[in-house]
């Protein structure tokens, strides 16, 4: 899907993988063919003393990324603002009707205090500036149905969702890495079966996986509680629901890189030095294949938050997902937009962190940044 930040292919002036300073892994030895003496051209092209990026260049690249991130957040905020303003129908009427559970026209006298309180009568530009100013102060507006600040509504419920999301991420990484190290490039049928399993896992709809886990492990086997509450035992099934499909995705993208790295000359060198197969896989190959996995994780954090909505609903778990579904049903736009805004910001920040880590870890990407 949106593997936007996958490796840009290294620029032609930089020799690919076996460049001594370019890879995060310290290679035991460069293969003879590309040693400087044998290849004067490569030696000339190579910047003096490896090519560790200069601090200024890194700062510039990171600064540019940060600027882009600020832009995305601003645009996301503007979109959520426009959604609230351009809602078909009168907002004050909607708000009153949702609160009283009625559907009827309202008199101006009824609407006036609401318009006053929420500032619906102000010119759009004033509302927009108020909204942006509020965001800067960490104020996302007032819920239409709960009459509480949106930040309070979100703040009360965010902890279980964050715990769930990060547990799921951790589970996905563990499953993917173990699978890869054990099964990549083994006997053909082993590799084929497991890469097939990965595609199947990646394609699983989360709600369905959740139901299966619920039926099998909670209803039939009774190992885990049916209603998961907020305890640790209740965390296992929801986290697996989110983690298994993500593990499939992760293993898919990392497997390609893993198998390519297994063919790299430095792997051969390591083997020639008498390093065990497991050692080569863990110490050298795995580290190379982490990069595509990392960039997928940047994307996945946002997606995991929305998948958490489903998992929380399947397992009747408290969290942002419940808040969001209730808010969508009640057409409580400030809450809906607040949650969406939050997820967008989390997405942007994780991607910024991943991109920055990339630039620091892999100097080849400095120019591409």
């Amino acid at each position: 899907m949106s593997l936007s930040t996958r490796h840009p292919s290294p620029s032609p002036t930089v020799p690919p993988p076996v460049h001594p300073a370019s890879a995060p892994v310290s290679h035991p030895a460069s293969p003879p063919a590309s040693s400087p003496a044998a290849d004067p051209v490569a030696a000339r092209d190579r910047p003096p003393r490896g090519n560790r990026p200069s601090p200024a260049a890194v700062a510039l690249a990171v600064g540019r990324k940060a600027l882009g991130a600020v832009f995305v957040v601003w645009a996301a905020a503007t979109i959520t603002f426009l959604i609230q303003v351009l809602l078909p129908g009168d907002r004050a009427t909607l708000l009153l009707n949702q609160q009283t559970g009625q559907v009827q026209e309202r008199t101006p006298e009824e609407l006036a205090p609401i318009n006053e309180a929420f500032g619906f009568d102000d010119p759009l530009i004033v509302q927009y500036l108020d909204f942006l100013g509020g965001l800067l102060r960490g104020d996302l507006g007032i819920s239409y149905t709960l009459y509480q600040p949106v930040t309070t509504v979100i703040g009360d419920q965010i902890a279980p969702t964050v715990v769930l999301t990060f547990t799921a991420l951790a589970i996905a990484w563990v499953i993917a890495v173990v699978l890869l190290v054990l099964t990549a490039r083994r006997t053909p049928w082993v590799s084929r079966i497991f890469s097939g399993l990965e595609s199947a896992a990646a394609a699983l709809p989360q709600y369905w996986l959740g139901i299966i886990l619920l039926v099998v492990f909670a209803l039939w086997l009774g190992i885990f509680p049916v209603v998961s509450g907020s305890g640790a035992a209740g965390l296992v099934l929801p986290a697996l629901t989110l983690g298994i499909p993500l593990a499939g995705f992760l293993a898919q993208v990392m497997r390609t890189e893993f198998e390519r790295t297994l063919d790299a000359p430095f792997v051969l060198t390591a083997r020639a030095r008498g390093m065990s197969d497991g050692g080569v896989r863990l110490r050298h190959v795995l580290r190379h294949s982490l990069l595509p996995g990392l960039s997928l994780t940047g994307w996945a954090v946002g997606a995991q938050f929305s998948a958490a909505v489903i998992a929380e609903n399947v397992f009747a778990r408290p969290g942002l997902g419940r808040v969001l579904v209730t808010a969508v049903n009640g057409r409580d736009l400030p809450v809906v937009c607040g949650v969406v805004m939050l997820v967008a910001v989390i997405y942007v920040i994780t991607n910024l962190v991943v991109d920055t880590a990339y630039i620091l870890v892999d100097p080849r990407l400095k120019e591409a940044a």
Partner: protein
């Protein structure tokens, strides 16, 4: 553009030296049919299975009566929540309605939602993507940024915002899912159009003095959009999954409709008593999605094979 001295070349066979390794319009027809019949025999078993299942889905959409074993609305109060068995292959729901027949009858509307959403999404993507690729620096910068912003909203959340604004309905579901999947495809279309535009045969056509509009319609669009055939198929599967997920959360079509997502939603209160009401409609969604994926990947690899 090209400084290469041009020698008149047979139509359709122009290749510009120095251009990126670009597909020259295929080999001769005889060659191609020979290869086609050879590849016909190499179609893997999974593709055959997927194809057969796709046929079943089409039959179920247009003539559900042929496959259904009962009236999907017939209430049988003697057998509420009956487990799967010889009388009711997939069991019955709380009013004793036959689940198998309901799934068969729901196929049409489920596929329609998937098709509609893919149409909306890919349609938007083609317009935005080719505009970004062909509209010059500014269009590219603006649309590119816009796509990046949309990426920050996960598909499900984008769809939920849409539903919060317009209220749940089939149209909202289609538009919401379509809008959600559009940015990814738009990026793909943009890259595709860009690479075709820079390719040797387009440079050649330009050097030959063809009108830009003619180059666009004869060369760029057909070549750039052909891979979309695979994407379209993949997208249908993806859309069905998203739409059913939204329906599962309660934002789907009204309950009496046997659409798959609606079945999932209707079965939720009975999950402790009747697992089949959830698992089997979910299996239908999964099977349809996998079918679309297998067929899509096959189309993709066939197209790639054609070009190499």
């Amino acid at each position: 553009m090209s400084t290469t001295p041009l020698t008149p070349a047979p139509a359709g066979r122009v290749s510009v030296p120095g251009g990126p390794a670009s597909p020259t319009p295929g080999p001769g027809t005889a060659d191609r049919t020979a290869r086609a019949s050879a590849s016909w025999r190499r179609v893997p078993a999974t593709v055959w299975i997927a194809g057969a299942f796709a046929m079943l889905l089409v039959i179920a959409s247009f003539a559900p009566g042929l496959l259904a074993t009962a009236d999907p609305r017939a209430i049988d109060l003697d057998a509420p929540l009956a487990p799967p068995g010889p009388d009711h292959w997939f069991g019955t729901d709380q009013s004793g309605r036959d689940l198998y027949s309901r799934i068969v009858h729901g196929t049409g509307s489920s596929l329609l939602i998937g098709l509609g959403a893919t149409g909306v999404g890919v349609g938007l993507a083609v317009v935005l993507g080719s505009w970004a690729a062909l509209g010059g620096r500014w269009a590219d910068a603006i649309i590119g940024r816009g796509i990046e912003v949309l990426f920050a909203f996960p598909i499900l959340l984008l769809a939920m915002v849409f539903i919060a604004v317009y209220g749940p309905s089939v149209q909202t579901l289609i538009l919401a899912v379509g809008l959600g999947i559009a940015p990814g495809y738009a990026r793909m279309v943009r890259a595709q159009v860009m690479s075709v535009r820079r390719s040797g045969y387009v440079q050649a056509a330009r050097a030959l003095g063809h009108h830009p509009a003619r180059i666009l319609t004869r060369h760029v669009l057909p070549n750039a959009l052909r891979p979309l055939l695979a994407v379209l198929t993949l997208g249908i599967g993806q859309s069905i999954v998203w739409a059913s997920g939204l329906a599962f959360l309660g934002f789907g079509v009204a309950p009496p409709s046997p659409e798959w997502g609606a079945l999932l939603e209707a079965g939720r209160p009975y999950i402790t008593a009747a697992w089949w009401l959830e698992i089997i409609p979910g299996l239908a969604v999964l099977a349809a999605a996998l079918t679309a994926t297998v067929l899509g990947r096959h189309v993709e690899s066939t197209l790639e094979g054609d070009r190499s």
